[in-house]
């Protein structure tokens, strides 16, 4: 029997586990959180039942059906609180990579350390908020949109009494709705992209969007049902500074041009006790990179055409992530905001027996993640590629790629945002690196090496390992000195999560690991 491991129990991971079970595999589903659902379906713990919890979610029935079906299946093992901290590629290519994971209290010191060597692996690790720096964003009371939503949905805590929501993308709407549901006042929702960009971007993907009734209904529901008349919404505006001594007391909002440059003279100050800001999403790539998966930084390369399974030629010319080698040719302008795991039309990565699905392969929302996960899980389990559902899934996924493109065209980060930074603005929160220091080092060294820049400035070397600042730093460096030449990808984190020495000391001996 094929043993399939799925990492991440959000929409993509749950769908993958369910499809792999349907195809007859033995499935292990791992997630670091205390419950399945991922960030999209992050929900109240079992100790807090609520009769109308479905109101907080989209597609809640999909979640309850999928999670119950997987949890009750005799061939499934669902392990919550399982932090995968390392992935070791298989040297001989006859197995999927080995997973090292720890089970127990988050960041606990006596977790159970375990190893898993599956026949096939589905990576569905999702994404986290991408929040661009602005003056004062390191003040307590500044949150990502994801934080505001997670605390509202899974704890019923509103991050403030009067909250400003800002950034870019349709995600701002559910964030505002979550805050309202938790009892907060939302002082305004500010979308950075101006109306013209939004209209042109979404028009470019009109056919794809129309093919996604869930997504359309979801957005219309927020605008008409929950937010209208209660929350001011403005396009072409953003929070360009947060003010306060030891906590947020107000923000400055300014109109932004099509390049997201603040328009002088449009600034106004809005009093608030919290601000929730997200400019997009960063895929969680470290496990895929550790497994050796190629990355792609262009939508058209993400899903190379070809239905005959993996053709290594598909991956030629893609960003050779994780190889840390000097690329002799002048690289194309990097697109740090849109770098994902490269997959073919079957969700196969460049590594045999490793599949990827959901936001790690492109930001296209939960509908796409469900389809991609289902396809990945089915094929990872050795399911029949000629099954009619496979062809149907491929067609749907191709349409969702159009949605991802439209999303990027309408809401993607524009280069003018750096105009709202000051020399004093913190860029790397962990290491307290300022924008002025970063640009001084870039100017003094002329460096086009991400590694050298990290060592010179400490950007990305703190506890978060560049998860928050990494792509910002890459983007600033590329804009000043040209595309980095050293091939170092800031998402590379061989130790994917902190592990304590006491836990390492209890690792199984290598000879004990290779169980049949």
């Amino acid at each position: 029997m094929t043993r399939v491991a799925v990492v991440g129990a959000g929409p993509a991971g749950l769908a993958a586990a369910s499809a792999a079970l349907r195809a007859g595999a033995e499935v292990t589903l791992l997630d670091a959180a205390a419950a399945t659902g991922g960030q999209y379906w992050r929900h109240l713990p079992p100790s807090r039942p609520a009769a109308r919890e479905a109101r907080l979610h989209q597609g809640w029935r999909d979640f309850t059906m999928l999670s119950r079906a997987v949890a009750r299946h005799p061939r499934a093992t669902v392990i919550a609180g399982a932090q995968v901290w390392a992935v070791e590629p298989c040297a001989f290519g006859d197995r999927a990579p080995t997973l090292q994971y720890a089970v127990g209290d988050a960041d606990g010191s006596d977790r159970d350390v375990r190893t898993l060597s599956p026949d096939a692996l589905v990576l569905a690790t999702g994404a986290h908020d991408l929040t661009l720096p602005f003056p004062g964003w390191d003040l307590p009371g500044v949150f990502t949109g994801g934080a505001a939503q997670a605390l509202a949905k899974s704890e019923r805590v509103a991050v403030g009494e009067r909250v400003v929501v800002a950034g870019a993308g349709p995600f701002l709407l559910p964030v505002a709705a979550s805050l309202l549901s938790a009892g907060a006042e939302v002082a305004g929702v500010f979308e950075a992209s101006p109306a013209g960009t939004l209209a042109a971007g979404w028009a470019s993907g009109a056919a794809s969007v129309a093919a996604m009734p869930h997504k359309l209904g979801e957005l219309a529901g927020y605008v008409v049902g929950q937010l209208r008349g209660r929350v001011p919404y403005r396009a072409g505006a953003g929070v360009i500074a947060a003010h306060g001594i030891d906590r947020v007391e107000a923000v400055t909002v300014a109109a932004l041009d099509a390049d997201w440059r603040p328009i002088p003279g449009t600034e106004r100050v809005i009093a608030c006790d919290a601000v929730a800001v997200s400019h997009g999403f960063t895929p969680r790539l470290e496990l895929a990179i550790a497994a050796g998966c190629a990355l792609a930084d262009d939508f058209d390369k993400l899903n190379p055409a070809g239905l005959d399974g993996l053709d290594p030629a598909h991956f030629d010319g893609l960003n050779p992530a994780g190889l840390d080698r000097l690329n002799p040719a002048e690289p194309a302008a990097p697109r740090p905001w849109s770098r994902f795991v490269a997959v073919d039309d079957d969700q196969r990565t460049s590594v045999p027996r490793v599949f990827a699905a959901g936001e790690v392969t492109g930001i296209a929302g939960a509908d796409a993640a469900l389809r991609e996960g289902g396809l990945a899980g089915w094929l990872a389990a050795g399911g029949d590629p000629g099954d009619r559902r496979v062809a149907a899934a491929r067609r749907r996924i191709a349409r969702y790629r159009g949605f991802a493109r439209a999303l990027d065209a309408a809401h993607g980060i524009r280069p003018g945002w750096t105009d709202w930074l000051t020399r004093e603005t913190t860029v790397c929160r962990c290491e307290e690196l300022s924008y002025g220091r970063l640009t001084d080092v870039l100017e003094a060294t002329g460096s086009r090496s991400i590694r050298a820049l990290k060592l010179a400035t400490r950007a990305g070397l703190g506890p978060c390992q560049g998860r928050i600042c990494g792509r910002t730093v890459e983007s600033i460096a590329a804009a000043r000195n040209g595309a980095p030449l050293d091939g170092v990808v800031i998402d590379r984190r061989p130790i994917a999560a902190p592990i304590r020495f006491s836990e390492l000391a209890r690792l199984p001996h290598p000879e004990e690991r290779h169980e049949p």
């Binding site: 988050a106 509103a158 938790a182 978060c464």
Partner: protein
């Protein structure tokens, strides 16, 4: 936190959990994270940064940014937003000032 009787999702009566935060008992709802208990009790920041000695609390809320680190029951560097609060947990704040003052 929204009082349960005003919550549109009609929650059942919550079960309490009490943790000790910086020596003071703080009550929350069973199943909440350590960060959620502290935020609901009105505390927004708890860590002090190494160089500029600035206050930090929750930023990303989903275990990515490591800004909300606390000491729980004697173990340092626990993400408060990820750790589920258990009755009697002792939470202490981390001051990361380096020897010799600001870096």
């Amino acid at each position: 936190m929204l009082p349960p009787e005003r919550d549109p999702i009609a929650p059942a009566a919550p079960e309490a959990v009490t943790i000790i935060v910086d020596g003071i008992p703080v009550s929350g709802v069973a199943g909440q994270s350590v960060a959620g208990v502290m935020l609901a009790a009105g505390r927004l920041a708890w860590r002090t940064t190494a160089a500029a000695r600035r206050p930090r609390g929750v930023f990303c809320g989903i275990g990515v940014c490591f800004d909300c680190l606390v000491e729980v029951n004697g173990a340092r560097d626990v993400r408060a937003c990820q750790r589920i609060a258990r009755d009697g947990d002792v939470v202490a704040f981390q001051d990361e000032t380096l020897p010799g003052g600001a870096a």
